[in-house]
């Protein structure tokens, strides 16, 4: 009897400590990633990285100025094309949608959200690249925009639904029509959350590499407009990391640090906006 209790108690302690160790292990992976990137990226990061173009193979030095600007351009394209679609569809689901059709849209949206990014890349390739037979910044933007849409739809709908019904009723009781209520009362009330969702959606695609490989492709020079291939940070990290040159590895670390900082800060920023808009 008592031996059995001792056994049960020791199993209890062992298993519970194991769960603690597991949680500690996972969190330490995060700190390890941050620390390792900070160390390796920080030591290879210099001013030239932000201001110069990549040097030809064999020469050391140079930077990724074009890739940084390229990434921002691609994000701009994704935002311009993806965010309005996501916002409007989110408004429809939260404010106008019926039952069956909304269910279908919601389900399709989740499905689109789960499509692997490389498949989105193929889609954008067949949609934009194949007809004109060359890679372009536009194709990369389309690929990223397709990935922005489902995330935006979901967060927009969620935050609109969180707006209390009494606010809608108050506006309607004052004689505002439905769309006026939505545009002047509901949307402003949910704007903090909606913006957060958009920022998170952009942060998510900022690090995407797979859909850009054969849409935006890459470019060792400044891009020649939206119809030409364009460099981006994630693709540069990939090509530099698998190349056999030490100096390229160094730059890959630097680019990794910049990209991670971009993604993590926008995540933190988004959560900060959300916390503040909730507090008000």
């Amino acid at each position: 009897m008592s031996a059995r209790i001792v056994w049960r108690k020791s199993v209890n302690i062992v298993m519970l400590s194991l769960t603690g160790i597991a949680a500690l292990g996972v969190v330490s992976v995060l700190f390890f990633i941050l620390g390792y990137l900070l160390w390796n990226g920080g030591t290879s990061l210099n001013w030239a990285f932000f201001t110069q173009l990549p040097k030809p193979v064999g020469e050391t030095g140079g930077g990724m100025a074009n890739a940084i600007v390229g990434s921002l351009k691609l994000l701009l394209l994704a935002a311009v094309m993806g965010l309005p679609v996501g916002l409007m569809a989110g408004v429809y689901l939260a404010e106008f949608g019926g039952k069956t059709f909304s269910f279908v849209i919601r389900y399709t949206n989740d499905l689109l959200n789960g499509v692997p990014s490389i498949v989105i890349g193929i889609f954008a390739y067949s949609l934009v690249v194949l007809p004109v037979k060359h890679f372009s910044a536009l194709a990369g933007g389309v690929a990223l925009a397709i990935m922005v849409v489902p995330v935006t739809v979901r967060s927009t709908e969620e935050f609109l639904k969180a707006v209390p019904g009494s606010m809608r009723e108050a506006a309607m009781a004052l004689g505002a029509s439905k769309w006026k209520t939505i545009a002047t009362v509901v949307l402003p009330a949910a704007s903090g959350g909606i913006l957060t969702g958009m920022l998170l959606a952009l942060a998510r695609v900022a690090g995407e590499t797979a859909p850009l490989l054969f849409t935006a492709f890459s470019n060792r020079y400044w891009g020649q407009g939206w119809g030409q291939p364009i460099a981006s940070l994630p693709v540069m990290i990939y090509t530099y990391a698998i190349a056999p040159y030490d100096d390229w590895h160094r730059q890959a670390w630097a680019a990794g640090l910049v990209l991670l900082a971009l993604v993590l800060f926008s995540n933190l920023g988004a959560r900060f906006i959300l916390a503040r808009s909730k507090a008000v």
Binding site: L16, V85, L112, V119, G121, G256
Partner: protein, 328 residues
């Protein structure tokens, strides 16, 4: 007379139609409804277009290889002979390795965070773990190449060979890159998903369930493992399915550490390729329509796999949210 009647008959509804439509437009509600509806329908259209494009552009490969595409072990661009078997194998093996490592680790962490840790501490840790999920895939690949691959070549690989070298899965030469390395990197990447969904589900288990078990004299662990976890098992399964769907479609990190070779080998040390990594590493080099078409058919296969898994995961998670688990 009759002619006049017909003109009137024709004109009357014609006039009333646009007028009532315009009157409704003036309110703006219909317009707003229509515009937002158009965008919402756009999502439907976009997704259908995606499936359609994949289907049409893979036409050449589908008609040439038929169902044999799934069973052919050869991937030979020079002789235009393409089979997906090595990549389907690679995808399944790396995902299986990833889940074998990530599920125990993730579930244990979720249990710790929901059952043992104080709520505030648990929230902070979950926040950090959510950040881990936001780290771009290519950065995991970068760390994989420069940390996991050398470790595998010099430490983990030899250690496994020393201990379990007689097993076929640990046979053959160890290059550092391969199925096992890809599986480990994937495990690190999907663990955050398992933790955050499982934790949410575990937190929804009613307090009374734990109290009843404890009151009956069970230890904390017994209450957790025999009462709380079974209660939440459908949702936990859902989180595993979501993680699996992620692992199947994960591209960059895998491409960078798997070694890129179309092989089917029982050894986990062997270099291989997954569906996604093959597309990523060969798409831009694909010369010839059949080659490209075969790669796109690989994309179609990947799409269908994740489509089915995501559907199952969603059903499971909805089932737990509705039923709150089964009163087993």
């Amino acid at each position: 007379m009759s002619a006049a009647a017909t003109t009137i008959g024709h004109e009357a509804p014609h006039r009333a139609g646009p007028r009532s439509f315009l009157r409704r437009l003036r309110g703006g509600d219909e317009v707003a409804h229509l515009i937002t509806l158009t965008f919402a329908a756009g999502i439907l259209l976009l997704t259908s277009l995606l499936v359609y494009e994949l289907w049409v552009t893979s036409h050449l490969s589908r008609t040439k290889f038929g169902w044999m595409f799934f069973f052919t072990k050869v991937w030979d661009p020079v002789f235009d002979n393409f089979g997906a078997a090595p990549f389907i194998y690679g995808t399944l093996v790396t995902s299986a390795v990833a889940l074998a490592l990530a599920v125990p680790l993730g579930l244990a962490s979720a249990i710790f965070l929901s059952e043992l840790a104080p709520r505030k501490f648990s929230d902070i840790v979950s926040f950090l773990i959510d950040l881990l999920a936001a780290v771009p895939s290519v950065i995991y690949g970068l760390l994989g190449i420069f940390i996991v691959v050398p470790l595998m070549r010099t430490k983990i690989g030899p250690a496994l060979k020393g201990a379990f070298g007689y097993l076929p899965i640990f046979s053959g030469p160890n290059y550092g890159v391969g199925f096992l390395t890809a599986g480990i990197v994937l495990a690190i990447m999907v663990v955050p998903y398992i933790i955050s969904v499982s934790r949410e589900v575990l937190l929804t288990v009613p307090r009374e369930q734990r109290e009843a078990a404890l009151a009956l004299g069970s230890t904390r662990w017994e209450a957790t493992w025999q009462v709380v976890v079974p209660w939440a098992r459908t949702g936990i399964m859902g989180s595993i399915f979501l993680a699996l769907a992620r692992a199947l479609g994960e591209t960059m990190a895998v491409t960078m550490v798997i070694g890129n070779a179309a092989t089917i080998s029982p050894s986990l040390f062997s270099p291989g390729d997954t569906i996604a990594s093959t597309i990523a590493s060969q798409f831009t080099e694909a010369t010839g329509d059949l080659y490209l078409s075969a790669l796109i058919e690989l994309g179609l296969v990947l799409f269908l796999m994740t489509f089915i898994l995501n559907g199952l995961a969603r059903i499971l998670i909805v089932a737990t949210e509705r039923g709150g688990g089964r009163p087993a």
